[in-house]
């Protein structure tokens, strides 16, 4: 430990004089995290937190440094369980700081471990635990490390593309069976380099973007909100066990410019992007028209090459309106109410693409689907029993509004 502290003093002294900084981050490894999924189910997780008062977020906190900075990561294991490490995926660190337990070191309960490296090429990288990584990564011990150019500016790399905003989308999945104690409480005999584990077949039921799915993706911090001719830089990263096929709306003019922390010499203009587990891509977005649409992310089983699920990241391109306002504005009206087997929906100009009607027992009794319906008034007809109904107004499968209707 003394040697490491001396090393830190050395780094501080030698690099600050060159104008670069020492960047310190602390990550607290936890084994008893809880994460509430979009349907209310709570899964046990492992993860990296930055304070003792919070659940470990999944993904872990996004860490930043500028090119050339000296980075010190302090891993504090307060897990009451297995040892943990930080593997620095793609950051070209030396063996001792690489976080592969039997090749460097592992950090036990109530111990600190320190990792040192100089931030390399600007780009998007992962950090994740490399102790029984099959289980610990699925459990939630992963996050993204972003290296910005030396001056920290919004440019992809020195001499690269300037942009006005950047968004990070990290894809992963969760299989509830892998979050049972019987899987997570695996053998961790630290005298051995191999471990006996028991894992079920992988059948995830949650398909995540930044740890969120389904209606959670309507939150404003997820959505891509931009304006015509404004340049956005998307960092797309897959740390799951399925591949992603990403489809961008054509109007976004997506250009694939970088991968794994390096520029792509011949950038590819493409509305589809394949991201395998562990890969990262940089995508430049420069829309030419106003639109409301979504980036479609398909989660593909690599053995069968079939899509297991699709998630939708909302996109709003507008010169004037914010996405927040557009999505949250509850402008829908239902009338007359009460009525008999028929009513009208007045949209107030808000686009939507579907309506679902449920009876008082929660049974779906009527569905209407449209392609981006923006008619001001829509006539709904059906033949259902008398009673109280719930009417959901949908866009990209997410609920924009919920109204009550009495059929008499």
């Amino acid at each position: 430990m003394t040697r490491r502290i001396l090393f830190l003093v050395f780094l501080t002294g030698s690099f600050i004089s060159l104008g670069q900084q020492v960047v310190n981050h602390q990550l607290i490894a936890r084994n008893l995290g809880e994460k509430e999924m979009h349907d209310g189910v709570v899964l046990r997780t492992f993860g990296f937190a930055q304070s003792f008062s919070e659940q470990p977020p999944i993904p872990g906190p996004t860490l930043y440094a500028n090119e050339g900075d000296s980075v010190v990561l302090d891993l504090f294991n307060v897990s009451q369980g297995a040892p943990h490490t930080i593997h620095l995926h793609g950051l070209d660190v030396n063996q001792e700081n690489d976080g592969v337990p039997h090749l460097s070191f592992e950090v036990h309960h109530m111990e600190h471990g320190y990792y040192y490296f100089v931030a390399p090429h600007p780009g998007t990288y992962f950090y994740h635990c490399h102790v029984v990584s099959t289980i610990h990564v699925q459990a939630g011990m992963y996050g993204v490390f972003i290296v910005k150019p030396a001056d920290g500016s919004n440019i992809t790399w020195d001499g690269g593309y300037p942009y006005s905003q950047e968004k990070l989308y990290t894809m992963s999945e969760m299989d509830p069976l892998w979050h049972e104690d019987s899987v997570m409480e695996h053998d961790h005999d630290t005298t051995q380099t191999i471990h006996e584990v028991s894992i079920p077949e992988y059948h995830p039921s949650y398909f995540l973007v930044n740890g969120q799915s389904e209606q959670q993706l309507l939150e404003p911090d997820i959505a891509l909100q931009t304006a015509k001719e404004e340049v956005s830089f998307l960092r797309m990263a897959n740390i799951g066990y399925l591949a992603n096929r990403v489809t961008f709306p054509e109007e976004l003019n997506a250009k694939i410019i970088s991968t794994d922390g390096r520029p792509i010499v011949n950038p590819e203009i493409s509305d589809t992007l394949w991201i395998s587990p562990g890969e990262r891509y940089g995508v430049l977005i420069e829309p030419i028209v106003d639109l409301i649409d979504s980036i479609e992310i398909s989660y593909v089983n690599m053995n069968t090459l079939t899509s297991e699920e699709i998630q939708y990241v909302p996109v709003l391109v507008s010169g004037t309106n914010g996405l927040n306002e557009a999505l949250i504005k509850r402008t829908f009206e239902l009338y007359p109410n009460p009525s008999a087997d028929q009513f009208y929906i007045k949209s107030g100009g808000q686009p939507y693409d579907g309506i679902k009607i449920y009876d008082a027992m929660g049974r779906l009794v009527h569905v209407e689907n449209h392609n981006y319906m923006d008619a001001e008034i829509m006539d709904i007809n059906m033949d259902v029993a008398k009673g109280i109904y719930t009417v959901e107004i949908l866009l990209n499968r997410a609920i924009l509004d919920t109204l009550k209707w009495i059929n008499r």
């Binding site: 793609g90 063996q95 001792e96 099959t134 992988y202 066990y241 991968t259 390096r262 590819e268 587990p277």
Partner: protein, 66 residues
């Protein structure tokens, strides 16, 4: 990535992680800049556990001598 039978357009890219599809041939050039022993493995992490043992299966290490 020097040569790819499936994605010739990806040749020349510098990568730390990439897919290799069934029947695909990839040729890579590696120029080590530091010595040490580093893991080389499938990042579909299901494939690095096998027969209830971790690490196992598609996991090996590469030794770069000083």
């Amino acid at each position: 990535m020097e040569q790819s039978s499936e994605h010739p357009g990806h040749e020349g890219r510098i990568k730390d992680t990439f897919p290799i599809n069934p029947m695909e041939v990839l040729t890579l050039e590696l120029v080590p800049h530091q010595s040490g022993e580093y893991p080389v493995h499938d990042h579909n992490l299901i494939a690095v556990t096998g027969a209830n043992i971790y690490p196992n299966g598609m996991f090996l290490t590469m030794l770069i001598e000083p």
